[in-house]
Symmetry: C2
Subunit: 358 residues, 2 copies
Amino acid sequence: MKITAVIMAGGRGERFWPKSRGHYPKQFLSLTQDGETMIQKTVKRLLPLVELADIFVVTNIHYAELVQQQLPGLPKENILLEPCARNTAPCIGLAAAVIRHRYGEAMMLVLPSDHLIRYEEMYVDTLRQAVAVAEQEKNLVTIGITPTYPETGYGYICFERDAKLAMPGVYRVERFVEKPDLETAKEYLSSHRYLWNSGMFVWKASSILANLEQLMPDIYAGLLRIETAVDTPDYETVLETEYQAFRSESIDFGVMEKASEIYTLPGSFGWDDVGSWLAVERINPTNEYGNYIEGDVITIGTERSTICGGKRLIAAVGVEDLIVVDTDDAILICAKNSTQDVKKVIENLKICNRSQLV
Amino acid sequence: MKITAVIMAGGRGERFWPKSRGHYPKQFLSLTQDGETMIQKTVKRLLPLVELADIFVVTNIHYAELVQQQLPGLPKENILLEPCARNTAPCIGLAAAVIRHRYGEAMMLVLPSDHLIRYEEMYVDTLRQAVAVAEQEKNLVTIGITPTYPETGYGYICFERDAKLAMPGVYRVERFVEKPDLETAKEYLSSHRYLWNSGMFVWKASSILANLEQLMPDIYAGLLRIETAVDTPDYETVLETEYQAFRSESIDFGVMEKASEIYTLPGSFGWDDVGSWLAVERINPTNEYGNYIEGDVITIGTERSTICGGKRLIAAVGVEDLIVVDTDDAILICAKNSTQDVKKVIENLKICNRSQLV
């Protein structure tokens, strides 16, 4: 069966301010020394499994140009433009409708555009295995991540450890749970029955569309009208009308939490959601003082810090556990234990109508 | 007797990098919210005691334009330009020679250009009292600062507490001592016989010239040749030749440590040498979180920090005890307990031949 990939690249993401902006979100940033952007890496690591011509990017209409610039080899018709943000259920539904129209039936690897994978061969192996599971019946497969600590910022997948399945290393999902508090997260970790929900899914176009028809019939009806208009002059108008009318809903809430026949594969391929500036020192080599340094930077007595220079010299003296990010019009200086508060800066800027900085 | 002031403004001062630069040293910076520069404040606080026409500024030839810009009312002939840096003895000698040429005899208040005084009326009162002492005989008077803690970065003045003098509050100087180690500084503090050496001197032109003639005859001979050339077309050439030939020597080592009849007045007028970026929060009002903020700055959970913004937004998140100074081509991020290491940044820049940043 034809394997396609659907890369979701519509997110705004404010955690990498001041490098990420409303018009330039995280998936289009390079946060590693090799200079590749997150979305470029996402496409590249798929190529052993999926042909470029079968990779789709769903993104907000405002990012169309960025996607074309960063993925020049991607066929232009594979860039699906959301007229507005409606969360992941309409986004995935749109891709499924277009894929059914183009291929009849095909496997869909649905993937975020802004995560990092350390061990790409193991990642591809896991996806291959997921494809084998998703080929059977109308199975929906989600890739879970084996937790290494009680993270409270992710949703979790609870799986049935004892369910006997044809394939080793594949588990039936019992339920999806929201972000837990620390106590609950610790219980999840010690129970060995929970995985982190990475937002990576594998299914046939027919499987997800059947589930959408059953569980989100209003959206499915709109998708049918869009599918009919694909490759006609009406496409843009129909897409605009139908998409605007969609309610905003996540695929997790809209489908995964309600569907049956959901399976999960625990992934151990060095997944990193690159959730804040803290990630930069995790995903890049640091020097002997534990610093990650980029650009024109002089450090004196500086340790365990991340310093991303811009066009000017940055001199860091006696600094510890700090994150510094310089851009042309704004500089962030943030204690490592306060990266979650970067969004407060953005709130402040919005309140003050300083939209050029957001 | 005519009272003149000699403001020494030739120092380079690297401790306020990146705002201070080789071509723009500390005395020409504004480090307070009122926008006045250090040298402007120095002149202004003298005006109750000295007419502007009797205030002299000795500075390096490279800073001539800065002095004229910042002190537009100062007669141009009162700006004495050192062709090269030769420390304070030649600098003060030059001023004394010019003053003797112009006034015959006059009182000289010799003052640094880059210190701050909180209680200016008390400062003027102390200078008046010093003038009264310096009018007698060939007395040399130095203003000492009553120490408040065992500072190891200053020289000290040891005075004879029991010497009976005509004036209360005036003490005979026993000796000048170099910067002590912490143990010694603590002993000085508890002995109640030591003052900080502030580098402020009061004497008649004839008194200091007589001491120079006796203690530094080589320099005195050169000064005589300069004095003869004042107001002649040869002045600049003679000054250039003689000044280049001077050895570099401080007035403390060249005269004060060897002369007799030295007196000191303990000053308690809120003196601050503004020795590093740490001083900025001392000499300016701070907000309820103990921050001193200047420019376009957003702080979130930030305490006890000094942030001097430039042309761009600075966002400080979760930051404590930090100094941030932004300029067009360089930004300093310095822990408060590491301000002494700012000079290492400059050393680094010099080694790398990045003189445009020094």
